[in-house]
C-alpha cells in the first residue's frame, strides 16, 4: 500500500458481552485500508462509521502505554503498532487469552497484575546508602541486562502467549518475572531475598519451559526468557550455597 492506494480488508472481530451473550461470536467488517493504517485505525473506522457498539481499549496509540494488546491473526501484539498491510486482506482480531473479557476486545487485566504484584514490583531502597544519585558508570556492566528488560509496558501480550500460564494460572508468568529480574539485578534495591523466594518458588521461574513465546510477541523486544534464565541461575547458585543472601 503506497500513497493513496486503497485496499479492501475484511476484519473478523470477536464480540462478546459476558452478561448478555451465551457465547462469543465473530462479526465481519469491510474497510478501505490505506497506507500506514494499523489494526487500531481499522477498529476506529468500524466504531465511528459502522458499529458504534464495538469495544476495545487504547490510549497513547504510539506503543508506549500497552493498553491495546490483542490477538491479530493468531499473534499477540499492540493494535496501534500492527500494520494492516502486514496482515493481509483477511484479518481476525480477538482479545488476549488468559484474561477474562469485559466486552469484545477489552479484557480485565486483573490476573496479570495479581501476578505482577506478587513479585513485589516496587523498589525497596537501601536507606543506609544515603539519599543521592548512585554513581554507576554505564560501562561497569553492573546493571546486567536491565536496560534491555526495563521498558516493559505491561500490555499482557506475553501473558496471553505463554503456554505455561494457559496450563496453570498460578504461574507468575513472563512479564512479572522479568520485572523481578530488573529489581534483583539493581544494586540499589534491597528486596532481593524476598523477591527470590517468590521467583524461585513453586509458581516461579522453574515453571518456564523456555518456549520463547513471550519473546516472539513482546512489542518492546524484551526477552523475558532471558531474564527468567538469569533468575534461575541465581536461584540455583543460592541453593548451592545453602540459601541465604549473597
Amino acid at each position: 500500500l503506497e500513497g493513496n492506494a486503497v485496499a479492501e480488508v475484511n476484519l473478523k472481530v470477536l464480540r462478546y458481552i459476558p452478561d448478555v451473550d451465551s457465547e462469543a461470536r465473530y462479526d465481519s467488517f469491510t474497510i478501505d485500508a490505506k497506507e500506514n493504517m494499523t489494526v487500531l485505525d481499522a477498529l476506529f473506522i468500524i466504531l465511528s462509521e459502522q458499529d458504534s457498539s464495538l469495544s476495545f481499549r487504547c490510549s497513547c496509540r504510539l506503543g508506549m502505554c500497552g493498553s491495546c494488546g490483542m490477538i491479530m491473526n493468531n499473534k499477540e501484539g499492540l493494535a496501534c503498532r500492527t500494520k494492516l498491510a502486514k496482515l493481509g486482506s483477511e484479518i481476525t482480531v480477538r482479545p488476549l487469552r488468559n484474561l477474562p473479557i469485559i466486552k469484545d476486545l477489552a479484557v480485565n487485566m486483573a490476573p496479570f497484575f495479581k501476578q505482577w504484584k506478587r513479585i513485589k514490583p516496587y523498589f525497596i531502597p537501601n536507606e543506609a546508602a544515603g539519599n543521592d544519585f548512585a554513581v554507576i558508570p554505564p560501562e561497569s556492566g553492573s546493571r546486567g541486562i536491565i536496560d534491555r528488560s526495563i521498558d516493559c509496558i505491561t500490555c499482557g501480550a506475553c501473558y496471553s502467549a505463554c503456554t505455561m500460564v494457559s496450563l496453570d494460572d498460578s504461574y507468575i508468568g513472563p512479564a512479572a518475572l522479568n520485572r523481578a529480574y530488573t529489581l534483583v539485578a539493581d544494586e540499589r534495591d534491597q528486596g532481593t531475598n524476598q523477591r527470590m523466594e517468590i521467583a524461585a518458588g513453586e509458581d516461579g521461574v522453574l515453571r518456564c519451559h523456555t518456549l520463547f513465546n513471550c519473546m516472539e510477541v513482546c512489542p518492546k523486544n524484551i526477552v523475558p526468557t532471558w531474564s527468567i534464565q538469569k533468575l534461575k541461575s541465581k536461584a540455583v547458585a543460592t541453593a548451592l550455597k545453602g540459601g541465604g543472601s549473597e
Binding site: 493504517m37 466504531l47 506503543g63 502505554c65 558508570p137
Partner: protein
Amino acid sequence: MIERVQCDILILGSGGAGLFAAHHAYDRNPNLKIIVAAKGLIGKSGCTRMVQGGYNAVLHPDDSIDKHFKDTLKGGGLLCNQELAYTLVSDAPKRILELETKMGCFFDRNPNGTVHQKAFAGQSFDRTVHKGDLTGIEIINRLRDQLYSKESVISWDEVRGIDLLYNDDHSAVAGCLMLNLQTGKFIVVESLALIIGTGGGAGMFKIAAPSLEKAADGMAMAYRAGAEFVDMEMMQFHPTGLLAENSRLNGGVLEEGLRGAGGYLFNSLGERFMEKYDPVRMERSTRDQVARAAFMEIQAGRGTRLGGVQISVAHLGRKNVLKMFPGMVDRCKDVGRDLSIEPVDVSPTGHFHMGGVKIDKDCFTAIPGLFVAGEDAGGIHGSNRLGGNGVADSTVFGARAGDAAAEYVTAVKRQKVSERQVELFVNQTMKPFTLEKGENPFQLRKELGVLMWDKVGLVRNGADLKDAIAQLADYEERADRCSVSGVKQYNLAWHEVLNVKNMAQIGRMIAIAAYERTESRGSHYRQDCLFQDNENWYKNIFMTKGQDGPVTVTRDVQFTHVQPEQLFGETARSMVSVG
C-alpha cells in the same frame, strides 16, 4: 441505586500529577483513605507516560535555580505566575531525586556514572534528565509500581469523573459523580478533598499529540463547578509531530532532543527555514517559534506532499542517531522512514495547554476542597512551556497537591453531597440514550478538530476567533443532541459524547481568551496584531463561568521575582514586531 463510596482524598488522573499526589498524601498520612481513579488503566492513560525527551532539573554545580527560573520566564514571554514558576524550578531537583532514590527510576548516566543531562531548546544549560528517548515510560512505570507497596491506596481503573459535587449549601466540594467505563454504572464518591490531575485537551485539534482518551475532562469539570482559570489562550503546538497519513499515529511527537542534538528542519525547497525566523537559535529556538515557523512555511506552499516540513538528523551519523534516539527511529519505521539516514515529515501538533485552573503554589483553588495539579493548572508556563518542564510540572505540583490535601483533610468535616446535583448530572449524562437518530459523536469530534485547527490554532485572527466562539457554543449544544445505543458497559460512543462536550467547552474558553488578547505572545499569534505589546499586555486573562458562558477579567502580571527589564532589556516596555 447508585453506589456510594466515602474517602478522604479522591484523585482524578494517574499521570505524574495524580500518582505523585497519591504517594505524597499517603507518605504524609498512611491512615488516609485515598482513591486514585483514571479514565484508562492506572498509570497507562494520560501523557506522563508519553514523555520522551525528559525532565528539567538543576543538578550540575555550574547550573542554577536562577538560570532555570529565568529560562522558564523568558520562554513563557514573562506571563508566568512567578511564584509558581519559582516553585517549579526549586522543587524539580527534589522530585527527580525522589524518583531515583525512592521510586527506583534509573536515568541515563555519563561515562563517569553521574546523571546525564541533555540539550533541550530555550535553555541556557543542558539540564534535561532522561532515560533514552522514552523517559516517561520509566517515570510512570516506577510511580505505578511503587504504589503496590502502599496497599491502602485504592486504584480505580477506567472510572472517569463526570462532575464535581458540592455540599448542600454550595460552600465546598464534597465529592464527585463518577462513571465506571467497564460496568457503565455511576458511583457517587464523597471525599473531603479532591485533586484534579487529568491533563488537558490538546486532542481537540485536528493534528494532536496527546493520548486519545484525554479530553480536558478535569478542566471542564472545574469550569462547570465555578473554578477560576488563567491563560486559556495559551495552547502549545509541538513543532515536530510525526505525519502518518491515514493513521492515528498522526501527530505523535518526535522528541525535542532531535533539535537539541542539532537536527535540521527543511521546507520543501530544501531550505533550513528557521534562518528566516530565528537566525541565532535556529532549530533550537523555543517551541512556539519553531512550530509557527513550520506552520507558516506550510501555509505559504512550501510544505511537503503530506502537508508538513521535514526533520533531518542523518548528518549526526547513523550510529549516533540509533544510539541516542532508538524510540524515535522505531516510531518513524511505522511510517516507512529510517530516521537515521533520511528526513521525516513532521507538522506542528496540538500538545500542551499552558492555561488552566488558577492555583497557588500548594495547588489550592478558589473552591474549598478542590486542588488542581499538572496540565489542568494554569499560570506556571505563561505563554509557552519549555520542553522538559512538563513532567517537572506534573510531578512537582502533584506532590505539593498531595501534601496539601493530606493536611487539609485533617481540618475539615465530612459533608453530604448535594442530592439535587447527583440527580441532575446523572440525567444529563444519560441523555444520549434517550435520543434517537441524533448526531454521531465521532463525526462531531472530527469537525471540532478542524474548526479548532483552522480558527483557533497556530495563527489566529479576530474575525476567525469570533466565528469560532459562536460555532463552539453550538458544538456544546450539538454534543447534547448526540445519541447512543447499546449496552452501557464499555460504551465508547457514550464516552465520546462526554469527551466532545468537555472539549467544546474548553475550546470555547481558548477562543474567547485568544480573541481578547490583542497582541502576539508566545504560542498565541494574531495575524491582525503582529506585535508583542510590552506596553499594555503584561497581563493575564482570567476566566470563570457566567450565566451565558465564560466571563473574563484581566489583571496585571505580578513581577514578584524578576522585572521585564532584567530579561528583555531595551524592549521590556515597548511594542516588538513579531511579523
